[in-house]
């Protein structure tokens, strides 16, 4: 469970102070498929970064499971991210010199998993995202949709407690978006993986089970809906 309590964040943008988050309270339970939506500048990405330990709040607390991430040292926080959080970025951010297989394997190598476990899990994940025939291709040899699917497989490779995806479909066409959402929904339903998105893509919002709407650093609404997805 992720528990966010009264998070406030202010940036110094030159001479101007920008209040990105103004007291956010939020609880996300295991197995949720949550979209954080809102216009640009509403604080979606800042909230995801703080939940993911990439940024720290000026005020408030983030607890993941029983861990207050503010209490972790820099290296402990990096280790925590490695073992508990999966990341999917808007522009894929794969390692360009590695193949799809090596990109997925990478986090398991950092976790010092043995060869057998790495190979099995990499193959399973690439099959589950439909890229079993692309394993030896490098990012520049794949389409944007394929790269983002590799990024999803990479995010899941370390067996994280949840996946944070910042605008994952922003650079994808409608077919690739639909494919990616299908894969993530299936993983969510079949393997109970928690997904948290920031997005303003209606196609993602339509298929999210919970939609949290933000504006000016505040939560405007938080609604759960019955999945009607095919």
């Amino acid at each position: 469970m992720i528990q966010v309590t009264d998070i406030q964040k202010t940036y110094n943008d030159g001479k101007v102070q920008v209040q990105a988050l103004r007291g956010i309270d939020l609880v996300i339970k295991e197995g949720e498929f949550t979209a954080i939506v809102g216009p640009s500048g509403s604080g979606k990405t800042t909230l995801l970064n703080i939940i993911g330990g990439l940024d720290s709040p000026n005020y408030g607390k983030v607890k993941i499971g029983n861990t207050d991430i503010a209490q972790l040292t820099e290296n402990e926080l990096i280790d925590f991210r490695l073992n508990h959080i999966g990341f999917v970025f808007q522009s894929y951010n794969l390692i360009p010199v590695l193949t799809a297989k090596e990109n997925v394997e990478f986090l398991m190598l950092l976790q010092k998993k043995d060869d057998k476990e790495r190979n099995e899990r990499t193959t399973k994940l690439l099959v589950s995202v439909g890229l079993e025939d692309q394993i030896n291709k490098k990012p520049n040899e794949m389409s944007g949709g394929q790269q983002q699917r590799v990024a999803v497989a990479r995010a899941l490779a370390s067996k994280p407690d949840f996946v944070l995806a910042d605008e994952p479909t922003a650079n994808l066409d409608s077919t690739a978006t639909a494919n990616l959402l299908d894969i993530m929904l299936r993983l969510n339903q079949e393997e109970n993986i928690t997904f948290i998105f920031s997005t303003h893509d209606q196609r993602v919002i339509d298929r999210a089970r919970r939609v949290i709407t933000m504006e000016d650093g505040k939560i405007l609404s938080d609604s759960m809906k019955q999945m009607t997805d095919k």
Partner: protein
Amino acid sequence: MIFKIAFKNIWRNKLRSWTVITAIALGIFGGLAVISTATGLSEMRQNNAIRTYVSHLQIHDSAYLKYGALDDTIAKEKDILKFIKKNSNTAGVSARLRIESFVQSAGGTSGILLNGINPTDEKRVTIISEMLQEGNFLEDFNRKPPILISQKLATKLNAKVKTTIQCSFTGAGGLPVTGVFKVVDIFSTSNSMYDEINAFVRIEDLRAMSQVYGSHEIAITLQDEEQVESFRDELIEHFPTHHIATWRGIAPELGYADKMMDLVMTIFLIIIMLALAFGIVNTMLMAVLERKKELGMLISVGMNKQKVFWMIVWESIFLALIAGPLGIAASFLAIQFFGRQGIDLSFAAEGLRSVGLDSIIYPKLNPVYYIVIGILVVITAIISCIYPAKKALELNPSETLRTA
């Protein structure tokens, strides 16, 4: 995996990596080429000096070196010569009678040092006999006592083979002596300054003219140069009242040249390493700044900063490990080739001779330098990538992901 990523990273921008690798390799090549040429020059100068006028060891009467008096000849000369010849390491020994003289011919005059020698003995000590125009090392002559003069002196005196020249000097008891000699051959060593003031005559002729029947100098050449110091100690033990010196003591300028060469080499190595360091700093800094977003991603997903640091370090080590052997191999091949063929500097022959050098230089390099350079290149690569790697550690992942 860190090695793999680091190695693959350096080939992202092949042109840039190869430019840096080539620059490092050329730097090493240039440095080693200069060092080997300088070493070749230094050794040539030293060998030329030893083989033409210094020898490995020289023995003098202690007073002769202070006052240079004609009668300061070497006491117990026969005993000394017998002791030296008995030594199995002796390659040659030559006793010399040396008298300062004024020389004149029909064409000019000059001040010289007449070296009275036994040609057979001298051949085993110096290579003057190999530097003659006609190969007559005071052996073939008719009536008048023979003399060898250098090409430089011949020019000054306007003399040639068969020219008669007159030498005036002070003999025993302070009596003035005038000797008439016939030039039987002309020599030319690689040291024009030496050539200008030295001439050779037969020791028995000079003794007869000067009435000085001893020798002022005994020059010794050994088969194994490494034994010079120990043989000197042995000689001092047996003949403690004589002045016995090795080539380093006789011609300290040769030793200074060695030390000077070491200093020059050190300065060159520092320059090479500095150039290499700046090249690597520049390349790695560009590589880090270009990859801010990717490095931010790596830190975000769980790669700790130590691993990021080492990834950058390994990238520069790989660059050095490719460039180093290339530069060293190119240097080795060039030094081996020119070490045999020589570098012909005939266009500067006159200038080189004035400092005791031949016009063909044979580069030479102590193999230790290859190892030293190899180690230094890797150390420099590690040191010079610390700043770029530190820059990578300062990256804030959320900022790089947002802004890059």
